[in-house]
């Protein structure tokens, strides 16, 4: 068995793979945060709860309605996205003119309600989701074993990330969105329905989180509290990358996942803290973030 820095290659590449997968989740989640931040200028504290809702919806729809994985992959983000549109329309819109701190606190309250209610219904122990048969097993790559599902997660996350980047940076709709972040009043003057655009943006952002939740359902423990810890890590990722660019959010997410995986291989006790330590270093030496434009 070949060794790298005293660690078997198979172990190292296995941890790297887990790191890339965690990174894919960080990328999807921070991408959604960045999209919402772009137009609404708020940090969505309910993002972790939406990610959790996506995963819970996948499990519950399968258990009670027999909805399979592929349908859930489409349905869960749609449902959660619609829920997000409702939150934006009924709650966030009412305080649109106020200090952004209030909308941040509002979404925090919403997150408390959602996770609190679900904890009451389902407890904090994990729900089980059986992996679809297609994904059972894996392929031996020679230096490591690659489970099919993990490969699928990476591919799916990257495709969705790239598609989002493409829509925002290269299409007309994306141009509207970007213009809206610059000057939404002027946009309104040009006859574009900005309030609708804002609702849909919030819905799309949380749908991305729900999509990550569906991907997570077969491999992570699905519980009503799975979102909060993940969200705090994603916040650190966002601080590291800065929310200036969509591409930056994706790259930083994956990079941080890999760093976390490597730390788990070489110095396990620090693995849960390493992203936060990177954040401290970035704040010291590059306060505006790796891809950030503003301080």
């Amino acid at each position: 068995m070949s060794m790298i820095f005293g660690v078997p290659l198979a172990v190292l590449s296995g941890q790297l793979l887990i790191g890339i997968i965690n990174g894919a989740f960080y990328a999807l989640l921070s991408l959604g945060l960045a999209v919402i931040f772009g137009l609404l200028k708020i940090i969505n504290f309910a993002h972790g709860a939406m990610y959790m809702l996506g995963a819970m919806a996948t499990v519950l729809m399968f258990d009670y309605l027999g909805v399979n994985y592929w349908a859930a992959l489409l349905l869960a983000p749609l449902l959660v996205g619609a829920f997000g549109v409702a939150i934006e329309y009924f709650l966030l819109r009412r305080i649109a003119g106020q200090d952004h701190i209030y909308s941040l606190l509002l979404t925090f309250g919403v997150a408390l309600i959602i996770s609190g209610v679900l904890v009451n219904w389902f407890g904090v122990s994990g729900l089980r989701y059986t992996m679809p048969d297609v994904f059972k097993g894996g392929v031996n790559l020679g230096f490591m074993f690659m489970p099919y599902y993990r490969a699928w997660v990476i591919v799916a996350a990257l495709v969705v990330c790239f598609a989002t980047w493409f829509v925002i940076e290269k299409t007309k709709l994306g141009a509207y969105l970007r213009a809206g972040t610059e000057d939404s009043e002027l946009m309104q003057g040009f006859g574009i329905n900005v309030p609708l655009l804002i609702s849909l943006t919030y819905g799309f952002g949380v749908a991305l989180a729900a999509f990550a939740g569906v991907l997570a359902a077969p491999i992570y423990s699905v519980t009503p509290v799975m979102g909060s810890a993940t969200l705090i890590t994603v916040f650190a990722v966002v601080v590291i990358g800065g929310m200036g660019s969509i591409g930056g959010a994706i790259i930083t997410g994956i990079l941080m996942g890999v760093i976390e995986g490597l730390t788990k291989t070489f110095y396990p006790p620090a693995s849960s803290a390493v992203i936060f330590l990177v954040m401290v270093l970035v704040l010291m030496f590059r306060p505006s973030g790796l891809f950030g434009k503003e301080a």
Binding site: R94, S103, F108, V239, F276
Partner: protein
């Protein structure tokens, strides 16, 4: 009504008005003090001390959030650091008097607060909230993995000991009056800070930071100092709390606690002196009442609901709304 005709008269009228207001304030504060002194004979002192500790925590938080406009989402870290430090010292060094343990806990939180402040003020607005939240999570991980904290079990049986070597704090009444004295001292300190020229600069930063910069103030220094004072007082609250309950646990370090202090301040009225005290009393009571009744499992969603409702409808909080009402109808 006679209109004052010259500047001397106007000046006299203002002085009289001021004196009348001061008298009213003095009477109000006197009544409040009497209530607080008599309270432990009517209500269980430990419950009152819990309210006072959280009120101090919220007052500390409000100095930063309400008066400087910086939303820290990591104040639980200071509460826990104060509590664990004091708990560890008092449990392991029996020669140490209680007040030294509390001072040490406060100092530990002050040092941590300085670190937090220097890092977090490098980012503004929403990023500031995220940075403080992430730093506090780092502190949480540290406490989870450290052996001295007792991990998930927490630190139990912290001795209350004796104050200044001769006042027995095992007695709940003695303990109560000690906590009350510390609370009042801190409250007056914050009142003094807010009213001082330093406090005026903090308010200027909150209202319009670029303007404060252009007036020549070194804004970052003011922010750091406000943060450090706030962290120190939050640490003091944690230290007192660990002595009162003889317990320090991971709950105090959890992000949930950072959210709770925000809620207390918001519900009571951010940017008012009395607001956080009212808010802490309100939240601690609500939590207690809920935990006794059929809704005991619904504390979190209900707190979340109060959050949403406050943000949507009562942004000035209880004290702020009352002040507005008084100004409109009686002013």
């Amino acid at each position: 009504m006679n209109q004052p005709v010259n500047s001397a008269d106007i000046h006299k009228a203002i002085v009289q008005e001021q004196a009348a207001q001061d008298r009213k304030k003095l009477i109000l504060n006197g009544v409040l003090l009497l209530i607080l002194l008599a309270a432990p004979f009517m209500i269980y002192p430990v419950f009152l001390m819990k309210i006072l500790c959280f009120a101090l925590f919220a007052v500390a938080f409000n100095l930063l959030f309400g008066f400087t406009g910086l939303l820290s989402f990591g104040h639980a870290a200071f509460l826990a650091t104060g509590g664990y430090t004091t708990g560890y010292l008092l449990s392991n060094y029996s020669g140490l008097s209680t007040e030294m343990g509390i001072i040490a806990g406060t100092l530990a939180a002050t040092v941590l607060g300085t670190g937090f402040a220097l890092l977090s003020i490098r980012r503004q607005g929403i990023y500031f909230a995220m940075v403080t939240l992430a730093l506090a999570q780092l502190v949480f991980f540290f406490f989870v993995q450290s052996e001295f904290t007792g991990g998930e079990d927490g630190m139990h049986g912290i001795p209350r000991g004796e104050l200044l070597g001769f006042i027995n704090l095992e007695d709940n009444l003695n303990m109560y009056y000690f906590v009350l004295a510390v609370f009042i001292a801190c409250y007056l300190l914050v009142q003094r800070i807010v009213g001082s020229p330093f406090g005026q600069v903090l308010k200027a930063i909150k209202q319009n930071e670029p303007r404060a910069v252009s007036l020549g103030y070194n804004v970052d220094r003011y922010k750091v100092l406000a943060f450090v004072i706030s962290a120190a007082l939050a640490g003091l609250a944690g230290s007192m709390k660990s002595v009162v309950f003889q317990l320090a646990s991971l709950n105090d370090a959890h992000w949930h606690m950072s959210g709770e202090v925000i809620l207390m301040t918001l519900v009571g009225g951010m940017g008012t002196l009395l607001g956080p005290v009212v808010g802490a009393t309100f939240v601690v009571n609500i939590e207690y009442q809920l935990s006794q009744g059929a809704l005991r499992d619904w504390v979190d969603p209900i707190l979340g609901g109060i959050f949403v409702l406050t943000v949507l409808a009562f942004r000035s909080g209880i004290v702020g709304e009352i002040q507005k009402f008084v100004k409109k109808n009686l002013g």
